[in-house]
């Protein structure tokens, strides 16, 4: 049925990477723990889970039926379904994480990637941060040329809106610069799989 390649898939894979969960809890975490995301609805979440299972990224697990087997075990039991990330799902998530192309859902995609930085190696983090920065810089360039072409014809309000928009983007670029800097500096206190390679100071 569904192609199901949206940002929801990405977020679900990322959350399930931390630990298995059933749908209901998954949704709560989508809307709170990862407070950055917009609220997803069950109407999108459950179908998404199904197609992810079909593709082999997720596996359903029987979930904790309340430990007594009173009801006939083959009756129409619809207990909690706990979803677990398969090895293929892990690969898929990794692939999505490190994608830096322009087909990256821009803002939201970065939010998701960043939210999962804790489970990521330093070079992936660097690639994501730098990718984001360069795309923001492209955007800035476009805004500037567009502004230069139309400046005269725009009223003060539109101008102010553009100015504020550009300033916001510039601000995020500075933020990224700080993050990149601190990733570079923090090469010793890292977690796990960063190869000790003291030779990359050149930008």
């Amino acid at each position: 049925m569904g192609r199901r390649s949206g940002i929801l898939e990405f977020a679900v894979l990322g959350l399930l990477r931390e630990s298995p969960m059933h749908g209901y809890e998954l949704r709560k975490r989508l809307n709170t723990s990862l407070g950055v995301f917009r609220a997803f609805s069950y109407g999108s979440l459950y179908p998404c889970l199904k197609t992810l299972v079909q593709r082999g990224w997720l596996a359903e697990e029987p979930g904790d039926e309340p430990e007594d087997s009173l009801a006939a075990p083959l009756a129409g039991r619809r207990a909690k379904i706990v979803y677990r990330l398969t090895a293929e799902g892990k690969e898929r998530f990794e692939e999505l994480l490190s994608q830096t192309g322009p087909d990256t859902w821009e803002d939201e995609g970065f939010g998701v990637r960043f939210a999962f930085f804790g489970q990521t190696s330093r070079d992936v983090r660097m690639r994501v941060l730098e990718g984001r920065r360069s795309r923001l810089e492209e955007r800035l360039a476009k805004m500037r040329t567009a502004l230069a072409r139309t400046r005269e014809r725009l009223d003060d309000y539109t101008l102010e809106l553009q100015r504020h928009g550009m300033e916001s983007v510039e601000r995020e670029v500075r933020w990224l610069n700080e993050l990149i800097e601190s990733e570079r500096a923090g090469r010793d206190q890292n977690r796990g799989e960063t190869p000790p390679d003291p030779s990359d100071d050149t930008a």
Copy 2:
């Protein structure tokens, strides 16, 4: 057919309020002049125009056929169709403009409203700005409580993401404060477009 109540309708009405246009030009202005908007495609624009005509917000005008009537005037002519905002369309736009409820497409809706401030009366501007501000403050409050509830369980990256997000919102609130302040101050001095609709009205 289509209900067609999205942000595209809003932007189209606003642009056509300035002057009649045909679809192709409309689209260009959607993507450049109002540089804030995302790029709309013809696939959404033309159907939108049609339904707006059906509803009476827009009227088609014969458009400038190239001034010679060489081709038989009743042949399958598909010349430029120039769209003009009707009186009802103007009302509709006004209504959309001054809507400050929470069903306001949040970010993009504000962008559109702001982009048309030049054609707006000061009290509408004030309402839009203050509405935006209060909704941002609600959002901030939610973020703060959510953060307070989950702070311990979050890793440093997630925390930093939330911090940056909140700072961005706070920054926009300050920006709004300045704008509101300057709207308030500019009631007598300043360029004289303060009173509502000095030139045209009542089509």
